[in-house]
Symmetry: C2
Subunit: 296 residues, 2 copies
């Protein structure tokens, strides 16, 4: 990592780095069943921001690891993030037709295949961690971090709380409980995976997790705010949908102005914890600020 | 393992052993989100045969390992098997109301929760492998074996071929391609996981995989035959459904009599490979014979 690298350059480098890894991890489209591998690739190569891989790479490099150490975890987190979007868009869930400006996976491949593509992406994520460098205890730590972040106490648990909260009074505590699990757990996990890949001691990995929860919440608040204020062209998905479907969002709970203020506070607290974990330099502090102010 | 232990005693011991492990792996029902953890437990504790855990335990013990070495893999294979049934039963897939004599998970908890419970069970499977003994290279090998068996080149790939084959001419090659992936890959993987847990060398683990594919095919043929000949009470699910939905089954491809003969040949070949892998004694040879002749 070059210390003069701009955030934009870092993000571009992280994107092409992880997309090469994703391409290597995914079976070719010609491999039987072709439809399944086509659906998996359609979902994965859909223009995502690759934020979680960037966080893993940034944490790993800043703490003295190499990109090669961080790649398996970065690819795995992106595969899990992708499967969650595919399942989230299904008719029995959010029933979305549009994702990042393109038809959702089930609109193109049908419901059954989208469901199964998501399932296969999750298995592949863990297989990559177990098969690629760095191996050993660092690989096992990464699998534990991902399993916890993605499972019933993390991302999937957050999706359930989100669904069950629809139409209920959006009090702040409930909104936070949802988003700590649904979004922040995977953001935090990606940072932790980067730290574990660099061989950071467990206390430091834990601090990265705490920082990541705060930064992940800030990221989600920004998402909720954009859902209310941006247009479909900028957003690449249907805006205003969360509020319409009665979801518990930050703006619904405390209003737009207060949501913005809370995102700023969370980022400040998150940056302090990152520093405590040994991350003062590198792209992550700037990336954290960007998370809470991005326009799409 | 007591050499005088009967097959029934071994299966009962494997069942209570793995059910204790499953209970320990699954968050308690009172853990937030309670509905999700309830759905996960409902699906897992539904009276399954626990065949895959028994295969893992039998392979591990016969090759000199302890039950403690095999438990993580056994629990993980059963969690993956369970999630695949939950997703398979969903309306967008096989649309089944009954499983092992009980309402299917989505009939009790709704489609969204059943989908998410399946997703969380898969994450938990890999988390258990990464968190429990034996750790190290044996744990990583188990995760690789499970990832391959469960993923797009294994079980999920088989489900796709199965769906795409519905209503087409059921030629034997197509039926075999489906069932090698859909059923046999996970049977083979469970044997391999047991071998890996015992620290068996890779060549031996590979032989276990080859044996498991043949035994898994025999198991599936028996399943297809029972689907045509048994009644709902014995079967615990709706009989004749595969044929009615135009699925490619063995009896549909070659008739009942020839299906039975093929199952016998496959078991004989599978037993020879098991022997080559060092498994002559213990419960597995008898279990293999049972697989091809069971009545439910």
């Amino acid at each position: 990592m070059d210390s003069s690298e701009s955030l934009a350059d870092f993000l571009a480098r992280a994107r092409s780095w992880v997309e090469e890894g994703l391409d290597r991890a995914l079976p070719p489209e010609g491999e039987l069943p072709e439809s399944l591998h086509g659906a998996m690739r359609y979902a994965v190569f859909g223009g995502g921001k690759r934020l979680r891989p960037a966080l893993a790479l940034g944490a790993c490099e800043t703490l003295g690891g190499s990109p090669g150490d961080a790649l398996a975890g970065a690819v795995a987190f992106e595969l899990i993030h992708t499967y969650s979007l595919v399942h989230d868009d299904l008719p029995s869930m959010d029933d979305d037709d549009l994702r990042r400006g393109r038809p959702t996976c089930h609109k193109v491949y049908g419901e059954a295949l989208a469901l199964l593509a998501g399932d296969a992406l999750q298995a592949l994520a863990f297989q990559v961690i177990a098969s690629w460098p760095p191996g050993g205890e660092r690989a096992l730590a990464t699998a534990r971090i991902l399993g916890r972040a993605a499972g019933s106490l993390g991302m999937v648990g957050g999706q359930v709380l989100d669904l069950e909260g629809e139409g209920r009074e959006p009090d702040l505590e409930a909104v936070r409980a949802i988003h700590e699990r649904k979004t922040a757990a995977m953001i935090a996990g990606a940072l932790q995976a980067g730290g574990a890949a660099a061989g950071a001691p467990p206390e430091r990995v834990e601090l990265l997790g705490k920082a990541g929860i705060l930064l992940g919440l800030a990221f989600q608040i920004r998402d909720d705010v954009l859902d209310e204020t941006a247009d479909a062209g900028t957003l690449g998905k249907t805006p205003g949908k969360d509020r319409k479907s009665g979801k518990r969002t930050w703006p619904a709970a405390v209003g737009l102005e207060e949501s913005r203020a809370r995102a700023e506070t969370l980022v400040r607290e998150g940056l302090a914890l990152l520093e405590e974990a040994g991350i003062r330099k590198g792209p992550l502090p700037e990336l954290a600020l960007y998370l809470a102010s991005r326009e799409k």
